[in-house]
Each structure stands twice: as structure tokens, then as C-alpha cells.
Symmetry: C2
Subunit: 122 residues, 2 copies
DNA sequence: CGACTGATTCGACGTTCATCGAAGCATAAC
DNA sequence: GTTATGCTTCGATGAACGTCGAATCAGTCG
């Protein structure tokens, strides 16, 4: 195990496609059960200040060593690792191990997908 | 009290402006503490399937009677009201009472703000 | 007025979550 | 090999969350 996908959790196979909440130009039906659950999972993963900060760091640097997060979010290494795992589990970030260090980067398609799910102007 | 703002919680005064996670075209600094907390509050409000469904209904209908949510999300009236309150508290939806019924609608600027906070391509 | 209906709050419950210290696992350097 | 360092997992604990029934509040209609 060396790159990107090393989490045992359920990352949906259609990892870059997420349901759109408002299909305002098509049939006015509500989002499905599974779609709502999947979407909620993504939002929940972003629903913590520590994880927002992590995403912010990643978006501004496009690659960050795991060792750098702990100081920035002011949490212990264990807690930091926990937050990183949650972001990994929903596919928002990916890891690459180089020697002793682990580097994190955002998965742009995945973030774009969750952003697009919020689209409502057409 | 008849329209829109009737929640005792802390809706930030700059209700339509939310921090952007990635200021990739400006100084590469991380998001501030308060900004991260505020943003996380919004994401957390969206981090439940029932609330995602509620938002979906609102975006596809632009006005929904409170009495219609309960059946769609398959929860009791009490639970539904709880979820609606959470969405109100972060300013994502607004209410208008007409007679016995309460109508909910999305606050577009607020939703756009949270969506824009996820912007990272420039 | 009283009875009814829709919506919200209250109180309680079980579950999930954030947090940390300690233990475990790798990899690098000696 | 041993030691040291970075990262993750484990176990525990206290707080927050989702859920519902019951009670309450706010309108409407006889």
C-alpha cells in the first residue's frame, strides 16, 4: 500500500460523481435516499473547524506533509490523524507515502462534485 | 414576529458573506479560526440526510409548507421541526407564516456563499 | 367561548463524535 | 540488530446529536 486509496471504508465507486440537490431544469423530484445519505456524508466530513482548516491548508498548498497539520489546527497527532482519516474516507483527500512522511492532497474532482451538488441557478 | 428572522441563535451579521477556503490567487494563508468555525457550522447543518432532502425539496420548489416535509423525510413532526430549526439557525432557510401554516424557502445568497467557499479553481 | 389543527418546544433515550494518552507499526539512521 | 521518529490505531471519556412522545403554543372555525 503506497498511494491514494488505503482506507477500508466505503468510498462509493462513482467517487467523482455526486447527486445534485436541485435538478431545477429537469423533473422537479426530490433527491433519492441513497443520494441524500451520500451527500450528507460529504457535508458531515466538512462539518468540523479542524477539518475545514485542513482543507484550507490543502487548497492553498496542493500538498501538505501530515506532520504540518497538527500545529496548525492545534490538536494532538492522534486527533489530527483521526480528522485526516475522516476526510480520506469520503474521498476528499488522498495520501502518498514517501519515506517516513505522508503527504496529503485534495481530490479536486471530489470537492468539485460536492460544490456542484449545491448548484441551483440555471 | 412574522417573517424570516425568528431564531434566537447566533446568525452572524454578515449573513451572506462566508470565508473562502482557498484564496489561491491572493496570499496563501490558511483560513482563520472564526472563519473555519462559521464554515463548519454551515457544513454541519447540511450533514444529515434528512436536511439534505429538505434542502433538495426547497431548491426544487422554492417554497414548501412545513407540513409537507414530514412525509417526505419520513420522520415525525417533532424531528422534522428540529431539522428545520437547525437549517434556520445557520441562515440557510427562512420562514414565512401565513395563517396556520409556515412556509419555508431557501436563502439563495447563503447557499451560494457556502458553495463559493469551496471554490478553488482560478 | 370551546374544539380542532398545525407547528414548535421539552424531556428523555441511545448513538455518534471529538479528544487525548498510550500502544502499535513502519521507515530511517546508527 | 537497536534506537529514534512519524503516523496510525486502540480504549476511554465527556459532549453533541437524532429521534420520538408528550406537552405547549398559535392560529382557525364553529
Amino acid at each position: 500500500m503506497s498511494t491514494t486509496t488505503d482506507s477500508p471504508e466505503q468510498i462509493p465507486s462513482h467517487a467523482t460523481e455526486l447527486p445534485v440537490i436541485a435538478a431545477c431544469c429537469t423533473t422537479p423530484s426530490s433527491v433519492s435516499d441513497t443520494a441524500a445519505t451520500e451527500l450528507a456524508r460529504m457535508f458531515k466530513a466538512l462539518g468540523d473547524p479542524a477539518r475545514v482548516k485542513i482543507m484550507s491548508m490543502l487548497l492553498n498548498a496542493d500538498e501538505v506533509c501530515a506532520c504540518d497539520f497538527s500545529a496548525s489546527i492545534e490538536k494532538t497527532a492522534a486527533t489530527t490523524s483521526h480528522h485526516l482519516k475522516l476526510l480520506r474516507d469520503v474521498g476528499l483527500v488522498a495520501t502518498e507515502k514517501r519515506g517516513t512522511w505522508v503527504y496529503y492532497r485534495v481530490v479536486p474532482e471530489r470537492l468539485a462534485a460536492v460544490r456542484d451538488a449545491l448548484a441551483f441557478t440555471c
